[in-house]
């Protein structure tokens, strides 16, 4: 399936990164347009007038927004190459449930932990820990054989979504100077994340650690400043 594929994204966005991972797993050639989120391109505004956000995939001139929607589109359009979603409808439902959980329930609290301190941070940490516990139990229940999804060396949708969100825990821990993902409390989550971040694709495609540390520190200090103001 030829044609032009352009991805409007941002190097640190886990949503954008998810789409990049999907394109790479499928071996699809694409052009990446790095968006400056403080000065969004006219094209982005035109392609995603409702949200004005990255990522947006433009395939043969037609735009698609929302990372999970884009990834399902990629799976349905490029049928050669590894599957991103399982074939069985029940397994697909499980993947959709957990990817929704990661994006909607876990990512927000993690961001709050980064952007707060004192009591507010304690609350955010507590909420994030509750979500991690749910995820830990969920992996145990839904994927009793071990870390979910990774089929061979290839990431599936759940890995593609989990890697950028959870893989950033090391960055978060460095910036905060304390542990976030406790291996003893969340052994399954930890081993899954470890396996993901060690995949060749993750090593090649994830944002450089130091660069992300710098960005997280900037986000944190700016958030704390405006909270104090």
């Amino acid at each position: 399936m030829a044609g032009s594929v352009v991805l409007h994204g941002m190097w640190a966005s886990p949503y954008s990164k998810g789409v990049e991972l999907a394109l790479k797993v499928k071996g699809i050639e694409y052009e990446f347009v790095e968006e400056d989120l403080t000065n969004k391109s006219e094209a982005l505004m035109r392609y995603n007038p409702v949200h004005k956000k990255v990522p947006v995939l433009v395939h043969n001139g037609k735009p698609i927004a929302e990372s999970l929607v884009i990834i399902e589109y990629i799976d349905e359009t490029w049928k050669e190459g590894p599957r991103l979603l399982p074939q069985d409808p029940y397994e697909r439902a499980k993947v959709r449930f957990w990817t929704g959980f990661l994006q909607q329930q876990l990512f927000g609290p993690m961001l709050s932990v980064l952007k707060t301190d004192g009591e507010a941070q304690e609350r955010a940490v507590k909420e994030a820990q509750e979500k991690l516990k749910v995820l830990e139990e969920g992996i145990k229940g839904s994927y009793p054989g071990g870390p979910p999804s990774i089929n061979g060396d290839n990431m599936g949708l759940l890995d593609i979504v989990g890697c950028p969100i959870l893989g950033a825990h090391k960055v978060l821990e460095e910036v905060l100077g304390k542990k976030f993902l406790d291996q003893e409390k969340y052994p399954r989550v930890t081993s899954w994340v470890k396996a993901l971040t060690e995949l060749p694709l993750a090593k090649e495609a994830m944002p450089p650690h130091e660069k992300l540390v710098g960005l997280f520190q900037f986000i944190r200090s700016r958030a704390l400043e405006s909270a104090a103001a």
């Binding site: 007038p49 409702v50 949200h51 395939h59 037609k62 698609i64 927004a65 929302e66 999970l68 929607v69 884009i70 399902e72 589109y73 349905e76 359009t77 409808p89 029940y90 697909r92 439902a93 959709r96 449930f97 929704g100 959980f101 749910v134 139990e137 969920g138 229940g141």
Partner: protein
């Protein structure tokens, strides 16, 4: 094929979405009404993560989250499709479903809050409607799905059919028919369409129940 059971709640829009999808596709199912303050042990076992309805149980396998359930139904029972076949068109429909899922909680925040929190939720709710009015697919057609109902219609139906009762109970007008003529026409089409018309909560019962819940909530909370 294995039997299908749906654990639902008569008041819930999410529960109704799944009922609509099941009936539109002609899938036979058993309905189990959950008494929400006293959730059944089965429900807690089937949805340990969120402990919420709706839960669809196919054979012994539980599926949770209304729109995840509906995609599961679509893939397992392909008759009477609720999604187009073209991948780009499917992506557009799913985009809007995600949009509705993300923005529609604001309508419920209008219902259950007061003051600044309610004002903010009002603004977000009206903006959601504006976006649908202006950008929603298949303008000029009966439904967002064109001539037939699709999953976007079902998703929005779970909002639009509850807004009236929410407005009455909270005293706020979210859906001004004059401002949203397209959505207003859509609502009339949707609510009168055969399967949907037979599967809507009783309006008076809904209003009463929501009024009572709101009263209880506001009097016991420390809302400003």
């Amino acid at each position: 094929m294995d039997g299908v059971k749906l654990h639902g709640f008569w008041l819930s829009p999410f529960s109704h979405r799944v009922v609509w999808a099941l009936k539109l596709k002609g899938i036979p199912f058993d309905y189990i009404e959950e008494d929400l303050p006293n959730k059944s042990a089965l429900l807690l076992q089937y949805n340990p993560v969120h402990k919420k309805i709706p839960v669809l149980v196919h054979g012994s396998r539980p599926v949770c989250e209304s729109m995840v359930i509906i995609e599961y139904l679509e893939e397992t029972w392909p008759q009477c499709p609720l999604l187009p076949t073209d991948p780009h068109e499917r992506a557009v429909v799913r985009f809007w479903v995600k949009f509705i899922e993300e923005k529609s909680p604001n309508v419920w925040i209008v219902y259950r809050s007061v003051g600044e929190e309610q004002e903010k939720a009002m603004r977000e709710s009206v903006e959601m409607l504006s976006n649908l009015e202006e950008h929603g697919p298949n303008k000029g057609k009966k439904f967002f799905g064109g001539d037939g109902i699709n999953i976007m219609d079902i998703a929005f139906g779970g909002v639009a059919c509850w807004i009236g009762a929410i407005e009455e109970v909270s005293g706020r007008q979210i859906f001004d028919a004059a401002k949203f003529p397209r959505l207003n026409a859509w609502k009339a089409n949707f609510k009168s369409s055969p399967v949907i018309a037979e599967n809507l909560p009783d309006r008076e019962k809904l209003r009463e129940h929501l009024a009572r819940l709101r009263e209880k909530r506001l009097s016991s909370s420390t809302h400003k």
